[in-house]
């Protein structure tokens, strides 16, 4: 970590800042009721997306679930296409047919995110097996939340990945909640999801998901090992979502979690933590940050403008693309 070079640290910082600003902008704009689809923001969890994806090349594959904005962006997904998708426009990454829960950008190896908890996990394993069959050196990262570990398909997928020693890195973002349900009503006390993965014989780790440097370093090793034929790896990052499960608002007042808990996690903001350090070390200066902010600000405003100005798909589009030709 101390040996990490400044450029990389700045990249990590910028990556997180960018996602944060974009997500916050989406939250603000959401109230206009022009983005008419469910959105699951990842504010507070940016370090995982950025720390992991920084280690991936464009050839590596990523799949994700309902909370995929950060993964999509960190993997290099096209921002205007994402914004247009949320506005239901024909220029969206899915021509408006998917909405926020169905992002993809194949040009950067983001193979798809879908809206059913856990369902892209086996697909990630399948994409990895395909790569192995073809002799390609490629890592596949499967992102999911801790609730996905309650789905049987999670286990089935891990078993098969372990059986065939496939180059998949399973990345669990444990943010303590599934919608409004705390861990305690879903998983036995004292159990950890890495025990589950280890049960399948998969080397597993647990780490601070709000420390981007830790995320980066750990996932760097795991991705390398997996890509190099070492078999699958599993990592659980502890983190926290700041806003409501689905939608733009804060919702600590409705009673499923406490304001205190939220504030504790907010104090561990992944972006601020790195910012403080980089400012102290002089790797970053306040003007740098300002520049970064305005760069992203411009990028997102352009993307929003693009999205808003784009056309809706034509009604004739309804029956198109049901089948591939």
């Amino acid at each position: 970590m101390s040996s990490m070079n400044a450029a990389l640290l700045r990249d990590l910082y910028f990556g997180m800042l960018r996602i944060r600003i974009i997500e916050e902008r989406i939250a603000d704009l959401y109230y206009e009721q022009e983005m008419r689809c469910p959105v699951h923001l990842c504010i507070g969890q940016e370090a995982v997306s950025v720390g992991v994806c920084e280690n991936l090349s464009v050839d590596d594959y990523v799949m994700s679930g309902h909370r995929s904005h950060g993964h999509y962006l960190a993997k290099g997904g096209d921002l205007p296409a994402m914004m247009a998708e949320m506005y239901g426009k024909v220029t969206g990454c899915c021509q408006g047919k998917g909405g926020s829960m169905h992002l993809l950008d194949r040009s950067v190896g983001f193979l798809g995110a879908t809206a059913i908890v856990g369902s892209t996990i086996p697909m990630s394993v399948g994409a990895a097996r395909a790569s192995v069959m073809r002799g390609e050196e490629r890592a596949v990262v499967s992102f999911f939340g801790e609730a996905a570990c309650e789905e049987g398909v999670f286990h089935e997928s891990l078993n098969f990945a372990a059986l065939e020693r496939l180059p998949v890195v399973f990345v669990c973002e444990n943010n303590l909640y599934s919608v409004y349900s705390p861990l305690g009503v879903r998983q036995p006390e004292g159990q950890s999801v890495i025990d589950l993965a280890q049960g399948h014989g998969i080397e597993s780790h647990e780490a601070d998901g709000n420390d981007v440097v830790e995320v980066y370093n750990l996932s760097r090793r795991l991705i390398k090992e997996a890509r190099g034929g070492g078999g699958p790896r599993f990592v659980e990052f502890k983190t926290y979502r700041w806003r409501e499960h689905c939608g733009p608002a804060y919702d600590n007042e409705i009673g499923y979690r406490t304001e205190v808990e939220f504030q504790q996690w907010k104090a561990r903001c992944p972006i601020e933590r790195l910012e403080t350090r980089l400012l102290e070390e002089g790797t970053l200066s306040p003007p740098d940050i300002k520049r970064m902010r305005s760069q992203v600000g411009e990028e997102i405003e352009n993307a929003v403008a693009y999205a808003k100005q784009s056309s809706f798909p034509d009604e004739s589009n309804l029956m198109e693309d049901v089948y591939a030709p």
């Binding site: 959401y30 009721q33 008419r36 689809c37 469910p38 959105v39 239901g88 426009k89 969206g92 899915c94 021509q95 408006g96 047919k97 998917g98 909405g99 926020s100 829960m101 169905h102 879908t114 809206a115 059913i116 908890v117 856990g118 609730a147 996905a148 309650e150 789905e151 049987g152 398909v153 599934s178 919608v179 409004y180 349900s181 009503v185 879903r186 998983q187 689905c246 939608g247 733009p248 409705i254 009673g255 499923y256 809706f312 798909p313 009604e315 589009n317 309804l318 029956m319 049901v322």
Partner: protein, 352 residues
């Protein structure tokens, strides 16, 4: 209080509440059941009232939780299992169909009763998209051993849910998301609406519209429009898809000689196919005009409102079909919706 009006969601909650109060074997489980939103308001406050043993949240394990419900039912409990979207229940088709539906028969009637209600919510609007809005009632209706209920009005929601909970078989209880906020007359106290009986919601002599769930509301609107040109539609709310009240539909068609079926699911191989088929088999001579099905076209549900609005047939399409049976041109004159077309009413402001 004969004129008490409550919403469909409140009616569902009340039915659950009453059954739980009456029978200690009734219990309620599902993702989000005790959370602040309480499954669109249908389960709010019940955990406080009945405790976490009888009203509880569950892991995201649809298949096993269905098996848990089945296992408890086999030894005398009456579980109600809720899924916030029908689509999630696809993970549990093995338990529902191979196990629950077959159980009573495959053990020669000795396997014990299997009183189980599975509540499934069909999503629609606000960009729910392809994986949060599938209306697969035709699948369940195809399977002997299941009962399949799909109410429209709050009165029926309550009465049919009570009947479902009291039934000794697995019942699939399907709630359309756009009905939850609809209000209607609902008596207090326990009453039940029998499974297997359709209901005439509007009398008419010229064409029968057999519809289910939310499409019944569109059918009623269509009937008003058609009436302006002197076509009186009889609207029949099918209410339970299995057992299916063939007689009620045949009776109505016997009177009108014309049949339109409107369902919330895909048209091909859907509910309408069965209704048209048995009518053609059993009342062919009564039909004065080819029957007509209204359902979803052969594509997934798109997220963007721009084309989702075209995906979902509405009253105008039903009315036009009815008018065509009398040689009239399609209608455009259905009242313009007062809210955007991708939401049911102004109270629905996303995001879920």
């Amino acid at each position: 209080m004969p004129d008490r009006e409550i919403t469909f969601a409140q009616a569902v909650r009340e039915a659950t509440d009453l059954c739980m109060a009456e029978d200690p074997t009734v219990y309620l489980m599902g993702l989000g059941v005790p959370d602040p939103k309480g499954v669109f308001g249908t389960t709010v406050g019940l955990q406080e009232k009945y405790g976490p043993d009888r009203v509880f949240d569950v892991p995201t394990s649809e298949n096993a939780m269905t098996g848990v419900a089945v296992g408890s039912a086999l030894v005398g409990m009456r579980p109600i299992l809720v899924h916030q979207r029908l689509d999630f229940a696809l993970l549990s088709m093995e338990q529902i169909v191979n196990q629950a539906a077959n159980w009573h028969y495959m053990f020669g009637g000795r396997g014990g009763n299997l009183p189980l209600v599975i509540r499934l919510v069909v999503g629609r609007g606000w960009g729910q998209g392809p994986q949060h809005s599938q209306s697969l009632q035709a699948w369940f209706a195809h399977v002997p051993g299941l009962k399949v209920v799909m109410p429209t009005v709050p009165y029926d929601a309550k009465g049919l849910l009570i009947a479902s909970i009291q039934d000794n078989n697995p019942v699939i209880f399907i709630e359309h998301r756009w009905l939850h906020n609809v209000k209607g007359h609902v008596p207090e106290g326990v009453y039940s609406v029998p499974l297997g009986a359709a209901r005439v919601v509007r009398e008419g002599s010229d064409v029968t519209i057999a519809s289910s769930s939310y499409m019944t509301l569109e059918a009623l609107q269509a009937a008003e429009v058609m009436s302006e040109d002197g076509i009186e539609a009889e609207v029949l709310d099918i209410r339970t898809l299995r057992p299916l009240d063939q007689e009620a539909i045949l009776d109505s068609v016997g009177k009108t000689g014309r049949l339109i079926v409107a369902d919330t699911g895909w048209k091909s191989f859907g509910i309408g196919a069965e209704v048209v088929a048995f009518t053609a088999e059993r009342a062919f001579a009564k039909l004065k005009h080819p029957p007509h099905r209204i359902g979803l076209p052969d594509c997934p549900s798109p997220s963007t409102p721009a084309i989702a609005n075209r995906f979902y047939p509405r009253a105008a399409e039903i009315a036009s079909a009815g008018r065509a049976m009398f040689g009239l041109s399609p209608t455009g004159i259905v009242e313009e919706p007062s809210v955007p077309e991708d939401i049911p009413d102004p109270s629905f402001a996303g995001p879920f």
